[in-house]
C-alpha cells in the first residue's frame, strides 16, 4: 500500500463524523419522544426525588432543548446513556456485553452465504438459460420472499426436531458449543442473503466472461477453470463486496428476528426484550450502536474495495 492509501484509510473516518452526529441527533429525538418524565425514564427503577434532581442537573433537563442535546452528547462521549430499567445497570456496558453473539451471527452468515452463493452463481452463469440456471433463479426468487423467522422454524423442524443434529435454541459456553448453536441461525440468514448475492454475482460473472481481458487470457492458452479462478471471480467479487456492504442494514435487521427465534443472547434479543419491558434506554442505545456498526461496516467495505481494486481513485 502506498502512502496515499494509508492516508485515505486515516482521513476517511473523519468524513463519517457528520453521519455519526446525525445518528446521535436521531437517538436524542427518540429518547426525548419517550412518554413520561425523561428523568424517571433515564433513571429507571431507582427514581428517588434526590436522584431525579441529580439527573435533571446531569442532563440539563431544565435548559433549552439544544443545550440538552449538548449534555446528551457529552454524557454519550462518557459512555453514559442512562440506565437499564430491567437489568439495573448502565445501558452501554450492557449492550457491549451482548455484542459477541451478534457479531458471530453476522460473520458466520456472511461466510456461509458466500459459500453457498459463489458456487451457485458460477453454476448458473455457466449453464446460462439451461435447467440449472432456471432452478437457481427459482431459488433466488423464493429466497427474496422468504420470511426469516419462518425459514428458521422450518430448519429447526428439519435439522433439530427431525434429525436431531443441532440444538433448537440458546448459545453455548465453550467455543465448540457456541459454533454448534450458531449453525442453524447462520444458515437461516445465509440462505436469504445468498439469494440476493447469487443474482448479482451471476450477472457480474456473465459480464466478466465477455470482458476483453478474458479473451486475452484465452488467447494465452489458459483453461476455462483457471480463467474463472484467476480473472473472472476476482473481478466479479468487487461489486459483490459492495452489495454486501449495502445490505448490512438488512442483515442486522435479520439478526434481530433470528436472535429472538433462536434465543441467542445478542443485541437484537436485548432490543426486542427492551421493547416489551419498556426498557427505553436500552432500546435507543441498541438502535444507536447498530447504526454506528452499519456505518463502520460500510467504511470497512470501502477500505476493502480500495485494497482489492487498485484502480479506485484516492482523493
Amino acid at each position: 500500500m502506498s502512502l496515499a492509501r494509508y492516508r485515505f484509510v486515516l482521513i476517511r473516518p473523519l468524513q463519517l463524523l457528520p453521519v455519526l452526529l446525525g445518528i446521535s441527533i436521531i437517538t436524542f429525538v427518540l429518547v426525548r419522544s419517550i412518554p413520561g418524565d425523561p428523568a424517571r425514564v433515564l433513571l429507571g427503577a431507582r427514581s428517588t426525588p434526590d436522584a431525579i434532581q441529580k439527573i435533571r442537573a446531569q442532563f440539563g433537563l431544565d435548559e433549552p432543548i439544544w443545550v440538552q442535546y449538548l449534555y446528551f452528547l457529552k454524557n454519550l462521549l462518557n459512555g453514559d446513556l442512562g440506565k437499564s430499567l430491567l437489568y439495573k445497570v448502565d445501558a452501554l456496558p450492557l449492550i457491549a456485553s451482548r455484542i459477541e453473539p451478534t457479531l458471530m451471527l453476522v460473520l458466520g452468515s456472511v461466510a456461509l452465504a458466500l459459500l453457498i452463493a459463489v458456487p451457485l452463481a458460477i453454476l448458473a452463469a455457466r449453464s446460462k438459460g439451461g435447467w440449472a440456471d432456471n432452478l437457481i433463479r427459482l431459488f433466488t426468487t423464493a429466497g427474496l420472499g422468504l420470511p426469516a423467522f419462518w425459514l428458521g422454524l422450518m430448519l429447526i423442524l428439519l435439522f433439530s426436531v427431525h434429525w436431531g443434529l443441532f440444538p433448537v435454541s440458546g448459545y453455548g459456553r465453550t467455543w465448540a458449543d457456541k459454533l454448534h448453536h450458531l449453525v442453524l441461525p447462520c444458515l437461516t440468514i445465509a440462505l436469504a442473503l445468498s439469494a440476493v448475492l447469487v443474482r448479482n454475482l451471476r450477472a457480474s460473472i456473465l459480464l466478466e466472461m465477455q470482458a476483453d481481458h478474458v479473451t486475452a487470457a484465452r488467447a494465452r492458452g489458459l483453461g476455462e477453470g483457471a480463467i474463472l479462478r484467476r480473472h473472472v471471480l476476482p473481478n466479479s467479487m468487487v461489486p459483490t463486496i459492495n452489495l454486501l456492504a449495502v445490505n448490512i442494514g438488512w442483515l442486522i435487521s435479520g439478526t434481530v428476528v433470528i436472535e429472538s427465534l433462536f434465543s441467542l443472547p445478542g443485541v437484537g434479543q436485548l432490543l426486542v426484550r427492551g421493547i416489551f419491558t419498556r426498557d427505553y434506554m436500552v432500546v435507543q442505545g441498541v438502535a444507536m450502536v447498530l447504526a454506528c456498526a452499519t456505518v463502520a461496516v460500510n467504511f470497512l467495505a470501502d477500505v476493502a474495495t480500495t485494497v482489492l481494486d487498485p484502480r479506485v481513485k484516492i482523493q
Binding site: 481481458h213 484467476r230 487498485p310 484502480r311
Partner: protein, 328 residues
C-alpha cells in the same frame, strides 16, 4: 522457400443466424514463412479480425464457426484439433495482441503476474523463475526499470506502456507466430512508431513471424514483408510489399493506395473510393467489388474471380487487373 511455418487453406468463418448461414470470411488461403511479417489490410468489416480470431479458434460469439481445408502450424492441423489440443497451442505457438491494451489486461492483476501466467503454463517454470523471466520480457519490450514495473497494475501504465506490456504478456508464452490486431490504432503517432519499431526488433531478435492486421497502409508499409488485401470477407490480392505498393494490380488495392494521405500530398480533397461494400447477407453473384470498380465489365457481374497466381509470389482475384501501377 521451404515449407512455410503457417499454412492456411480455405479458412472460412460462418455465422448462423436463424435458419441460414452467412459467410463472413470466405475461403482464405495464405502462407506465412519463418520471420515473415504479413500485413492484412482492409476496411473495417472486411473480416480481417474475424479471420485471425478464426485462426485462434477464439470466435467472439457462440453462433460463429470455422470451416476450411486445413490450417497447418508446427505439425498440427488446427482445424482437426479438439478444444484441449487447441488450448495447448494458443499462446505457445500462436500469440495474439489486441487493439485496446487497456481492456485486454486484467485490471486487478499485476503486470508481472499476467506475464508469468503464460510462462508458468507453457514452460512449466516455478513462480520465482517466471518472475525473473517476466522482468526479462519487460526489458525486451523496452519498459524502463522493469524490476519495479513488474509489480505495477495496468492502470499505473500509460497507453503506450500498456501496449508494450500486452506484447510482453504475449511474448512471455514464447510464441512462433504473433497475431497483432490493430496494435497501434489506439495510440498516438509517436508511440505508434515506437511500437512498430519494437515489433520489427522482436522479429529480428526472436525470428518471430507476424500477422499484422491494420486498416492503415502507412503502418503496413513501414513493417511488413508482404501484404494481403481483404475485401468483403475475401482475399483479393496478396504479394510482396514492394510489388504491392509500387504496382498494385487489383483495382481495390490501387484505390486503397490512392486513398492514403501520403499518396496525395497536394490534394485539396482526399480521394476516396465511391460507394459501400456489399452486405454480407446479400452478396452479388459476381465480383464483390464490381459495383465500386472503375474497371468493371460484364463478366465481373456474373462470375466471382478466383484467387490465382498472377506472377511468382503474387496472387490476384480479378478479371480486369491493372497492368501498370496506379489507377489510370
Amino acid at each position: 522457400m521451404t515449407t512455410p511455418l503457417l499454412q492456411v487453406r480455405g479458412l472460412s468463418v460462418i455465422a448462423r443466424t436463424g435458419q441460414r448461414d452467412i459467410t463472413l470470411v470466405d475461403r482464405l488461403s495464405f502462407d506465412l514463412g519463418e520471420g515473415e511479417i504479413l500485413g492484412l489490410v482492409g476496411e473495417s468489416g472486411s473480416g480481417k479480425t474475424l479471420a485471425c480470431r478464426g485462426l485462434m479458434r477464439l470466435l467472439p460469439a457462440p453462433n460463429l464457426r470455422v470451416e476450411g481445408q486445413s490450417v497447418r502450424l508446427a505439425g498440427h492441423d488446427l482445424l482437426q484439433l479438439d478444444e484441449a489440443g487447441m488450448r495447448r497451442l494458443r499462446g505457445r505457438e500462436l500469440g495474439m495482441i489486441f487493439q485496446n491494451p487497456s481492456s485486454h489486461l486484467d485490471p486487478l492483476m499485476r503486470i508481472g503476474e499476467q506475464i508469468a501466467e503464460g510462462i508458468r503454463l507453457h514452460q512449466g517454470a516455478s513462480r520465482r523463475e517466471a518472475r525473473a523471466e517476466a522482468i526479462e520480457v519487460l526489458r525486451q519490450v523496452g519498459i524502463p526499470d522493469p524490476q519495479s514495473r513488474v509489480d505495477n497494475y495496468p492502470h499505473e501504465f500509460s497507453g503506450g506502456m500498456r501496449q508494450r506490456a500486452m506484447i510482453a504478456v504475449a511474448l512471455g508464452c514464447n510464441p512462433r507466430v504473433l497475431i497483432a490486431d490493430e496494435p497501434t490504432t489506439a495510440l498516438d503517432v509517436t508511440v505508434q512508431a515506437q511500437i512498430l519499431r519494437l515489433l520489427l526488433e522482436l522479429r529480428d531478435r526472436r525470428g518471430l513471424s507476424m500477422i499484422l492486421i491494420s486498416h492503415d497502409l502507412g503502418v503496413v508499409a513501414q513493417t511488413c514483408d508482404s501484404i494481403a488485401v481483404m475485401y468483403a470477407g475475401r482475399l483479393c490480392e496478396h504479394g510482396a510489399k514492394h510489388e504491392m505498393l509500387a504496382r498494385p494490380r487489383h483495382p481495390y488495392s490501387a484505390g486503397l493506395l490512392a486513398c492514403h494521405p501520403a499518396a496525395q500530398p497536394e490534394a485539396v480533397r482526399m480521394t476516396t473510393i465511391a460507394g459501400q461494400p456489399p452486405l454480407l447477407d446479400d452478396l452479388p453473384a459476381g465480383c464483390r467489388f464490381e459495383s465500386r470498380c472503375p474497371q468493371a465489365m460484364p463478366l465481373c457481374r456474373q462470375q466471382l474471380p478466383e484467387l490465382l497466381e498472377a506472377s511468382p509470389g503474387h496472387r490476384l482475384a480479378c478479371h480486369t487487373p491493372l497492368l501498370a501501377g496506379g489507377l489510370s
